[in-house]
């Protein structure tokens, strides 16, 4: 099913950085990592590749293995088995300081005893560049992150957001083949995080460096990435463009982890001519992919905003409003349909239709194409 989602993504909207077309920067294949004394692997057969100039994100809950993977690519951990290739060459025998890969650390890891300029110059000094080249590159990098005037300050005198930018400038200074970003925005407050998101994306486009970004924040992942790999329990659940991940989750985990969704149980009613029809909530017919058998029970994901409320009798099934939750730009309505529950998200822009109140009767309509089958029984 994973394959289905990926192929769907690649056939429908060929991305600018299609890994089949563009040059591959990083390839991870069959990555397995066991920690001593841990029964479960931290990484369980992870494979993917990142194209040159791509903004690639590893998204998953904490403990899903994304940080282990990042640290293995940087060289701080060894894989139990599997391989990591950069531009086609294996890098596993290289020490971290020999890999043309730089990292932006979660808590920045700026050297407290050095000034901002010395921090940015650090990798250049280690690479034995001459003094004038270093000076030029440091100025260029500080200009890129708009902190030229802070060159002589110590990191402790900077705000969190400024420290973040210096960490970025320092990691970009040696012009790495690949930049790893380990939840770099998690320590910032919400407003700053939103600003930095835009700026990170701009810097990535400007420098043309391949970014491998790690986060547990789905909004961040969807907003910045060219492609996202959703990870859980040491495995990759789905790889695809943000829209594909959101609209066509490959399984229940992806569906529930990204965005809010109604997980419904459906019955396959008929199949044929490359499509199947699934009935949910005792009367709503939805379209599904073909290889289902009639009478099969399947799990169906329907996004909250795809649920349409209509006056009683106009929709496919009747419902009773149980509770409404006001959320500013929209309201989430909790509904009871027979014995099942359903949630709908109503946008307030639609002034013609008032928000229903608890106890109101209404009916539910869902577009046949709005659902994704995320789980099926083994029968």
């Amino acid at each position: 099913m994973k394959d289905m989602a990926t192929s769907l993504d690649e056939t429908q909207v060929p991305p600018a950085t299609d890994p089949l077309v563009a040059k591959t920067a990083l390839t991870v294949s069959g990555a397995v990592k066991y920690y001593p004394n841990a029964p479960m692997p931290a990484l369980n057969d992870v494979s993917f590749s990142i194209a040159e100039n791509e903004f690639f994100t590893l998204l998953g809950p904490s403990g899903c293995g994304k940080t282990t993977l990042l640290r293995s690519i940087a060289g701080f951990e060894d894989l139990t088995s599997g391989s990591i290739r950069l531009d086609g060459d294996s890098i596993e025998s290289l020490a971290p300081n020999q890999r043309p890969i730089n990292t932006v650390f979660q808590h920045y890891a700026l050297f407290p005893h050095m000034t901002v300029a010395e921090n940015v110059a650090y990798p250049l000094r280690r690479l034995r560049l001459d003094a004038r080249a270093i000076e030029r590159r440091v100025a260029e990098m500080l200009a890129l992150v708009k902190l030229a005037e802070m060159a002589d300050r110590k990191p402790a005198k900077l705000s969190g957001g400024q420290q973040q930018r210096i960490a970025l400038a320092r990691a970009l200074a040696p012009n790495p083949r690949l930049l790893l970003l380990d939840e770099p925005l998690s320590a910032l407050d919400l407003k700053l995080r939103r600003e930095m998101r835009t700026e990170l994306k701009q810097i990535q486009i400007k420098t043309g460096i391949t970014f491998l970004f790690v986060t547990h924040d789905q909004e961040e992942a969807l907003a910045m990435s060219d492609r996202v790999a959703v990870m859980n329990n040491g495995q990759v659940e789905q790889i695809g463009r943000p829209e594909a991940i959101y609209n066509a989750p490959a399984n229940e985990f992806v569906a529930t982890f990204i965005g809010e969704t109604n997980a419904l149980s459906g019955l396959v009613e008929k199949t044929g001519s490359g499509a199947a029809q699934v009935i949910v909530l005792g009367g709503i017919a939805l379209a599904a992919d073909a290889d289902l058998a009639v009478g099969e029970r399947v799990g169906v994901s329907v996004r909250l905003e795809k649920v349409d409320l209509r006056p009683p009798g106009e929709g496919a099934v009747d419902a009773i409003v149980e509770q409404t939750v006001f959320l500013g730009t929209d309201t989430v309505v909790h509904l009871k349909v027979g014995k099942e529950t359903l949630q709908a998200r109503l946008q307030h822009t639609d002034r013609a239709r008032p928000v229903p109140a608890p106890g109101d009767h209404c009916s539910v309509h869902i577009d046949p194409g709005a659902a994704t089958v995320v789980a099926r029984s083994n029968r």
Partner: protein, 308 residues
């Protein structure tokens, strides 16, 4: 093939571990050559015969240990059980225990008092407690002798006030030795207790009061059990140097009644019986080791208790 890759992959970490070991080796070499070897030589010497003019004869002998328990008759060379040296060790043990008790009696309230100060003041109090430890032990012991001796300021003041006719005999007594030991090692008792109290959860005290405990009950049921690890650590840290102490009995006791430390020192100075001195050192070291093992065990017990 996978194994070969795994080996290659770790080669730079192997190199790193090697360079760390190389960097560690000078310190370990110095410690092994400068302390472990000498301690082993002490053990070896305790099984040798004493040389006539000091030093040793390289012949195996249990003479030194025999001498510790038995007295050799000058006339017929027969051995008779003698408690003289056992008494010296017994008295050392007794005085060390007494000094530890005195330190605990003064140290616990002090540590508690410091731990209940506002956080920003605590470091200053700790500093006040630490400073005397770093002052030369000889100077401190002499200073204590200076004020408690017959012609010292305490006796001078008491006589000046006509409270006593003859000077109080404080110096050169067993009391002076215990006082000196407590004076020498008191900071060792306070610091670990303070550390334990500071770490302990004040909410437990609040909970105990909430559950109708009296002040005394809170102290006995909550505070002291919470500081147990610190109390044990403090007791060991006072006990070990006390039992092997040399300066306090030498200066404050007037060197008349020997303690273990002085007995050992004497064998390398006036008496010149190295094997016997070495044997005494081995026996003292054994006592200290037993104390340390006890300490490690109790630490482990508390750790397990905390985990539960």
């Amino acid at each position: 093939m996978q194994d070969a890759a795994a080996v290659a992959q770790r080669s730079y970490r192997v190199g790193e571990a090697r360079s760390r070991r190389v960097m560690l080796s000078p310190a370990l070499t110095v410690l092994v050559v400068g302390l472990v070897c000498p301690l082993i030589i002490v053990l070896v010497y305790s099984f040798l015969e004493a040389g006539t003019y000091g030093g040793v004869e390289w012949r195996f002998s249990l003479e030194a240990y025999q001498q510790f328990l038995f007295q050799r008759d000058i006339f017929d060379d027969s051995l008779s059980f003698s408690t003289a040296y056992l008494e010296i060790f017994g008295r050392s043990l007794f005085m060390a225990v007494l000094a530890t008790a005195v330190c605990l009696a003064i140290g616990f309230p002090t540590a508690y008092f410091i731990a209940t100060r506002p956080p920003e003041q605590r470091m200053f109090w700790v500093f006040l407690i630490t400073v005397p430890y770093w002052v030369n032990l000889l100077i401190r012991t002499l200073a204590l002798l200076f004020i408690i001796r017959d012609q010292g300021p305490i006796n001078a003041a008491l006589q000046g006030l006509d409270m006593i006719d003859a000077p109080l005999r404080i110096a050169y007594t067993d009391f002076a030795i215990v006082l000196g030991l407590a004076y020498s090692y008191l900071p060792f008792m306070i610091l670990p207790i303070y550390a334990a109290l500071e770490r302990s959860d004040t909410r437990l005290v609040e909970a105990a009061y909430d559950l109708y405990a009296s002040k005394a009950r809170v102290l006995v049921d909550v505070v002291i059990p919470g500081a147990k690890a610190g109390i044990i650590a403090g007791a060991i840290l006072v006990f070990i140097p006390s039992i092997g102490s040399y300066l306090a009995p030498d200066i404050l006791g007037g060197g008349r009644e020997l303690l273990a430390g002085n007995l050992i020192a004497q064998q390398f100075q006036a008496s010149r019986n190295w094997p016997f001195g070495a044997a005494c050192a081995v026996i003292l070291m054994t006592v200290v080791m037993l104390g340390l093992i006890q300490f490690v065990r109790s630490q482990e017990r508390t750790r397990r208790g905390e985990m539960r």
